[in-house]
């Protein structure tokens, strides 16, 4: 059909939203279109980013609880010297599971869950760009996590550390299928993270509200864009590494066999080429939370928006140049070390600038000391210590002593708990009404904040001293008389305080679900688009898609937010805009709910899990996957016509 012919066609008689179709009538129609199918199958079929994001977050929090329980177990074992509460082998499994779960099953997924939940809302769109891929991503993540934990419960869990250095994880020293469970879990989470990241990048680039050019995106969306791109560039590295490890272990390839000119260090390079960016994949979304919370609770736009955005981008790029600082003790050429020292130190410049911008925003604004902001303040106090110890260990002469000691344990817990979990808890408190329609208890929130904050310092600050007093990491016991008793006892007490505090936080979450104060659409008087719709948002997010002409639309436009008209209401449809300046571009159908992503995930899981046991699974396992994918992509209706948007 030529454009001329098309112009002659009478306008299609499809109902569209607009001034003439609004209010409850529109709500009813949109609700019918965007609702999940009924029943359990419908629940499995959901492609709603809010469902998926919520599932991601809840699942990740469950893993956080499990891994936290393991942490308590470790702390009890280490509470006194020569303790024999937990055996050596079990302890090794526990710390492996703790690290693996925290890194792969909690930290990255919870951040992606938040991103999946919030990004379409912040962008003013109805769903992510690839909703079924998004659903697939969650199921893969769930399957991977289940694989690891079922293995652990059945006593075939990994025991070689979350970093799985060969040869210890190789076919000779990694006994049985423990390592394979771990390595295949990596494959699961990589697939999940990549799927979610691809979907997020496409959403951000193509589904911004009209007018929301790149320079008007909320900082959290910027953080999401940067981290998703980082996921796309870094995760293949570890997927490759773990694939080679599996192949060494299953079919006897020689990738990591030094005798046959493989190399044990190859793993470390590939792993840390992923592993270091991963820290920022966890940390950058957290800075996104911080930027949003700081702005809202200072009641002021963020100071230095371009600086913060450029810092995010710079961190994302620099993060790929630092991996060698995890390998200073491996005996690589000294000349290279200086480069990585300088690079590692330079990454603190963008972070330092972000901290400046947050403090400046607080300075310039009128801060409200509510729970989310408390977490942010706790974050800055804690994270900066972690950042500064990070500067220390970037220096080779210091790192060679501090590396692989409890000093490092302290450092990265300051960075990851202080730098990511504190903002996350603040973010959960902040966006809780957006997900549930109710606010969390402020009083309980403040109590748990102070307990977490102080308990954390008590648990982790003494680890610096334990490290300096010569306590290496990953030891299940230590001898008396080396000055380690007191720091370890304090750490254990602190960890118990944190555990109680987290429990309080969870109680707050659960209790507030029923009895929390009902939330207005914008309970915090925030400025970004997710607050433009009700709490919790309807399935279709926005009755009319909003139009934006500033970075803080709700502050600047208030109730009179301009909207788009003309999207179909009886078919799922979203509006595509241009990448840079977000001009309306196309209308695009959005995927219907479907059970096939779930089935595809099952088929893929079956293939992955069987390929732990037989290489043929890779061949035969593709058949069910292909069937599921065919059904997933089976075209249901004739291609919808493309029409210019009438706004």
């Amino acid at each position: 059909m030529t454009p001329a012919e098309r112009a002659k066609q009478p306008p299609a008689k499809v109902p569209r939203d607009g001034p003439d179709l609004t209010g409850p009538e529109l709500h009813e129609k949109l609700e019918a279109t965007w609702e999940n199918p009924p029943g359990f199958i419908g629940w499995l079929s959901s492609v709603d980013h809010k469902d998926i994001g919520r599932r991601y977050i809840v699942t990740a929090l469950v893993f956080l609880a499990l891994a936290g329980a393991l942490a308590i177990a470790m702390r009890l074992q280490l509470s006194k010297p020569d303790n024999d509460l937990i055996g050596a082998a079990r302890y090794n499994e526990i710390f492996t599971m703790h690290g693996t779960t925290m890194m792969f099953l909690f930290a990255v997924p919870v951040m992606q869950g938040m991103q999946v939940y919030l990004t379409p809302l912040m962008l003013g769109t109805r769903n992510t760009a690839f909703p079924r891929l998004n659903a697939f991503s969650y199921w893969m993540y769930l399957a991977g996590g289940a694989l690891l934990w079922v293995a652990f419960v059945l006593n075939i869990g990994p025991d070689m550390g979350w970093f799985a250095y060969p040869p210890l994880s190789g076919p000779q020293y990694g006994v049985g299928k423990r390592v394979d469970m771990w390595a295949q879990m990596i494959t699961f989470t990589e697939v999940a993270a990549l799927a979610a990241a691809v979907s997020l990048v496409a959403t951000i680039l193509k589904q911004k509200a009209p007018g929301m050019g790149l320079a008007r995106m909320p900082i959290f969306v910027w953080a999401t864009l940067v981290t998703s791109l980082m996921v796309i560039f870094s995760m293949p590295s570890v997927a490759l590494a773990s694939g080679m490890l599996l192949s060494d272990r299953l079919v006897g390839t020689q990738f990591y066999n030094p005798v046959e000119r493989g190399d044990a260090l190859l793993w470390q390079h590939l792993f840390w080429f992923f592993g270091h960016p991963e820290v920022y994949i966890i940390f950058l979304p957290a800075t996104g939370f911080v930027s949003e919370i700081v702005a809202t609770f200072s009641r002021r736009t963020i100071v230095g928006y371009p600086i913060v955005v450029m810092s995010l981008v710079a961190t994302g790029i620099l993060a790929f140049g630092l991996w060698v600082h995890h390998m200073f003790a491996t005996g690589l050429p000294r000349i290279g070390y200086s480069f990585y020292t300088a690079a590692s130190m330079s990454v603190s410049i963008p972070t330092g600038l972000q901290i400046f911008c947050w403090i400046a925003t607080l300075w310039e604004g009128r801060p409200r000391l509510q729970v989310p902001l408390l977490y942010v303040i706790g974050f800055i106090f804690t994270f900066v210590i972690g950042g500064l110890t990070g500067v220390m260990i970037a220096a080779v002469p210091l790192d060679l002593q501090l590396h692989d000691t409890y000093f490092i344990v302290a450092h990265f817990h300051y960075v990851l708990i202080g730098g990511a979990v504190f903002p996350l808890l603040g973010a959960i408190t902040y966006w809780y009404p957006k997900a549930t329609g109710r606010l969390m208890s402020d009083r309980l929130g403040k109590i748990s904040f102070w307990m977490i904050f102080l308990g954390f310092q008590l648990a982790f600050f003494p680890m610096h001293i334990a490290g300096i007093n010569g306590m290496p990491r990953r030891v299940y016991t230590y001898p008396a008389g080396m000055g380690l008793e007191l720091p370890n006892l304090l750490s254990t007490i602190g960890s118990l305080v944190v555990a109680v505090a987290v429990l309080l936080f969870v109680i707050n979450l659960v209790v507030s679900l029923r009895s929390g104060r009902k939330a207005e659409p914008n309970p915090w008087d925030a400025a970004s688009l997710e607050w433009a719709t009700s709490c919790a948002p309807p399935k279709y997010n926005f009755p009319h898609l909003p139009i934006v002409d500033s970075r803080t639309p709700l502050w600047d436009a208030g109730e009179k937010l301009p909207v788009v008209h003309g999207l179909r209401v009886e078919d799922r449809e979203v509006l595509l805009t241009t990448v840079m300046s977000a001009k309306p571009d196309l209308r695009e159908p959005s995927a219907e709910p479907s059970p096939w992503p779930f089935i595809a995930a099952l088929a893929t899981s079956a293939m992955f899990i069987s390929s732990i046991f037989s290489p043929w699974a890779v061949v035969f396992g593709t058949v069910p996957v292909a069937v599921a994918l065919t059904a997933w992509f089976w075209p249901k209706s004739p291609k919808p016509e493309r029409e210019p948007v009438i706004s």
């Binding site: 040869p167 736009t301 100071v303 070390y337 300088a342 801060p367 970037a394």
Partner: protein
């Protein structure tokens, strides 16, 4: 070299000093303390700046009105820009300074390693250390396990190898750590400056008994070292009484000799620690237990309960054999 300790009193509290970074008894260890002190000062200053700024920022308008008109969401004071420039400059200068300090310390550490006068090879095994002092005269090679004796003030080069997985060689009082990687030969340079007894430990996770893979370091005067070295060159003394002889016989004809070597006897195993001068060491089983008769009984009778998962099997010795073995092992001075 205790300056670091003076500045950071809390770091040395309760520290007995055999395995601490704040010992500084080696050249590199001392460099560490200096550089660490510099970093601590700079970082503390930076932290205080951030903390004070944050407190001030939150405190300043904490009671300001709750609602604001839209205009004031965006206003900025003129102080922001100069503060930003100042802050950036401060970070940059600080980091450059620290990088340079780090670089020169690294150079100084590298220089310590030049011109070593003693060379030894440490081979890591799951979970013990095999130590060999090489000499141009091959017959003056000394082999021991889980202990290193070093003469004070003499630069030492240590070649590091691994027989199985990756380990890390770390004597915090003397120097930083260096990994031992199968298929690669790495090296460490030590320059001990002060006599004393120190402890090193494996610092890279290496399997089930990673926690109990330590080694004892003795830094002693040159004369003491030479005495020790000469003694190490001697084969084990013959058993002196019937009980010891029974132990000797058991050791050399039964399970023990399949893995362990005792120089001068038919026990010539090469896969477990050399026990020629076992009783002269400070600890049993790579630092797992202090050396004394009671621990020796416990260890020989049931090593798997002392260090579960280690490579020495629980043999199930009869009481007579156990007495005899311990009696014999205690003669291996």
């Amino acid at each position: 070299m205790r300056r670091g300790g003076a500045i950071l009193p809390f770091f040395v509290t309760g520290c007995s000093g055999v395995q601490t970074m704040m010992g500084g008894e080696g050249a590199e260890g001392a460099n560490f303390i200096q550089l660490f002190t510099v970093f601590m000062i700079v970082c503390t200053v930076m932290y205080l700046i951030v903390a004070i700024a944050l407190i001030a920022a939150v405190w300043r308008r904490r009671n300001a009105a709750l609602t604001l008109d839209n205009r004031r969401h965006h206003e900025s004071s003129n102080a922001v820009r100069p503060a930003l420039i100042g802050w950036t400059a401060l970070i940059a200068v600080g980091l450059i300074g620290l990088t340079i300090a780090s670089f020169f310390t690294d150079r100084s550490n590298a220089a310590n390693g030049s011109n070593p006068q003693l060379s030894l090879t440490v081979t890591a095994n799951q979970w013990w250390w095999d130590v060999e002092y090489s000499s141009p005269d091959a017959s003056k090679t000394v082999r021991t396990a889980n202990e290193i004796h070093l003469p004070v003030g003499i630069p030492v080069e240590i070649k590091l190898k691994s027989n199985d997985v990756i380990h890390s060689f770390w004597i915090p009082n003397l120097a930083g750590k260096q990994d031992l990687i199968p298929g690669r030969e790495t090296d460490a340079q030590l320059l001990p400056r002060k006599t004393g007894l120190y402890r090193g430990q494996c610092a890279e996770f290496c399997g089930v008994q990673h926690a109990q893979m330590a080694l004892d370091i003795t830094v002693e005067s040159k004369a003491d070292f030479q005495r020790w070295y000469a003694a190490q060159l001697q084969p084990a003394p013959p058993p002196a009484n019937p009980l010891q002889r029974a132990g000797y016989n058991y050791f050399t004809t039964r399970e023990c000799g399949s893995c362990h070597n005792i120089s001068g006897t038919p026990a010539t195993g090469q896969v477990a620690p050399d026990l020629t001068h076992f009783a002269s060491r400070r600890s049993i089983a790579a630092g797992a237990l202090p050396m004394n008769t009671g621990n020796l009984y416990g260890w020989v009778a049931d090593p798997q309960s002392q260090k579960p998962g280690n490579r020495m099997p629980t043999v199930g010795l009869k009481a007579d054999d156990l007495h005899a073995l311990v009696a014999y092992l205690e003669t291996l001075k």
